[in-house]
Symmetry: C2
Subunit: 347 residues, 2 copies
């Protein structure tokens, strides 16, 4: 164990946020402590409901405890409303446990907007970070590609995109062990001059930075895995992420339509779809363990509302890893370095 690292990382888990709460969250917590010695869990939410779920499992009760929170943020509630009207939500309470130091990280399969807003409000930002960002891994032909931002910031300035590149690079380096991660700027052509007003200006900043900036990349480069980090504003990142998540849906529909054409088609589709599913493991969000919110002064990971127990466990393990590598210290030190060359108006 490296110097200054805790033996046990404690994670506060929003047990009320997912579509199947708190069953998936509780099962995920149990699976986590059962198969990992280094992580304890605090389940945050309605203690009665959580206890009822916990009673269905056998587990080491020194490693999972419950922290009661009386309110729940619904999936489609506005983030601002949730913050204002539900101070004792499982999201706010879970983040406060992290802020106070009782927990080393926070994870939630709940309302993305609410988790982002509450994380920013309760944990604050790392010094010099203008806007925190969420990044998502995409399946690729080869290697790892993460897109930053995928929805935290819809209207961005060049400085924001530069910082997404820095935070993303730190993440790829510390979590995936990638040396000097390649960074691409998402645009509509390879040339420096191709793009919109935002990307053309951002190109200049990225070029001057210490990042391993390789230039513009296009929509097709994400799945090709051309760069480890793809930088864009959260509007286009969110559109592409949701588009990508819908690809399996259309393939499934087309396969079903094809199967209905006759017996032989049905047999062929059966084989094809089985193979496809096998191949599609890379597209399985559960493996990736949620999207990290980088730039807040703490560790906060957001998962899909439909997270399974395995997805919850992978989120917990990702949070553990982020805590152990002290990712925020690295982000703070990298972000500090750029102050010098950013135009004053950008700050």
């Amino acid at each position: 164990m490296s110097q200054g690292t805790k033996d046990i990382i404690t994670i506060s888990l929003d047990a009320m946020g997912g579509d199947n709460a708190p069953a998936s969250e509780v099962a995920g917590a149990v699976e986590t402590v059962r198969s990992n010695q280094g992580v304890n869990i605090i389940l945050v939410g309605d203690s009665g409901k959580i206890e009822a779920e916990l009673s269905k499992h056998s587990y080491d009760n020194s490693r999972i405890r419950i922290h009661h929170a009386s309110q729940v943020v619904e999936m489609h509630e506005s983030a601002a409303d949730a913050l204002r009207k539900k101070p004792d939500s499982s999201i706010a309470s879970g983040l406060k446990l992290h802020k106070s130091g009782e927990a080393d990280a926070f994870i939630s399969p709940g309302n993305t907007g609410a988790v982002m807003a509450a994380s920013l409000f309760i944990l604050g930002r790392i010094a010099n970070v203008s806007r925190p960002t969420i990044g998502s891994r995409f399946p690729t032909e080869r290697g790892i590609t993460m897109v930053f931002d995928v929805g935290a910031n819809v209207d961005c300035k060049p400085l924001n995109l530069l910082q997404f590149g820095i935070m993303g690079s730190v993440y790829a380096n510390s979590i995936y062990g990638i040396d000097n991660p390649k960074v691409g700027l998402l645009s509509v052509g390879e040339e420096k001059t191709k793009g919109d007003a935002l990307t053309v200006e951002t190109y200049e900043l990225l070029e001057k930075s210490n990042l391993n900036f390789v230039g513009n990349v296009e929509g097709r480069d994400i799945l090709k895995g051309s760069t480890h980090i793809v930088v864009c504003d959260g509007f286009v990142g969110n559109v592409v992420l949701k588009f990508a998540e819908s690809v399996l849906g259309i393939l499934k529909t087309k396969f079903s339509d094809y199967a209905e054409r006759g017996f032989l088609s049905k047999v062929k589709v059966g084989m094809a779809y089985g193979t496809l599913k096998d191949i599609m493991k890379d597209f399985d969000y559960q493996e990736y363990g949620g999207v990290p919110l980088l730039g807040v002064n703490g560790i906060s990971i957001i998962g899909h509302g439909r997270s399974t127990p395995r997805a919850i466990m992978n989120m917990a393990l990702k949070a553990e890893q982020m805590a152990r590598v002290k990712i925020n210290e690295k982000i703070a030190s990298q972000i500090k370095d750029i102050k010098d060359f950013v135009p004053k108006t950008e700050k």
Copy 2:
């Protein structure tokens, strides 16, 4: 034949633009006149090379003629350079034939930027159109979905997006026979307030318009086919289009990787890939006949550089259809109607 429509539609075809020029273009022209009585073709480009290709085919030589053009715009040449330095390019010459009335439409599998710029310069805009737009069809679970804009305009104002919606609706109605096409605004959430500065303002304009506007749609709605028309700026539209075009590539790679795991895997992949290819016909750009450039005062369609003869023929037939339904008269009349409620600053 409806009143005022010509018996024969003449199409000027840029024979030098594609990756395999002029072989694909010539073969496409021959295929077009052979299987369609209503279309004649003018092949525009290097007459020597075109004649050499034509001599390999037998065809009715009253229906295909050559118009010599001495210059060729390369695929990666800047549009501005091409316009300025190559006044006798096959693109410019082909468009001039259309402008003069010798041809009723122009099609090109060449440099997209150069075709857009030259079309705008030579044909001009339809009255009251602020910016012409290119739209692409996407495969969907059910029905037809076209995204406007996919790259003609990277920095847009709300009025531009409103006009994309109008032109797209006219296209879907006149070309695909869709009554009152559903229009969605691409954004990051369904609520009116979700989005960036551009989409929030555009929402207001679309709401007040005569379009069948159904509200915001998200990245996942494109492949679902939730609306007939999806409106967005050309930056995000281009990123999504190129992302979509790359999906088959990653599936192919994953299938190959899987096949290498062993004999049974190989057999399964063989069947699966065959089925997939069958199913993927919907993803075949060749079927769609290129992307139309709407808003210019003429008919201009841009195809993939790698257009096959069949893709060229489908472009020609799409151009014929656009000419026969007099699509630009419809666009002009619909665009005129919006003048009243658009803020003065937008004009």
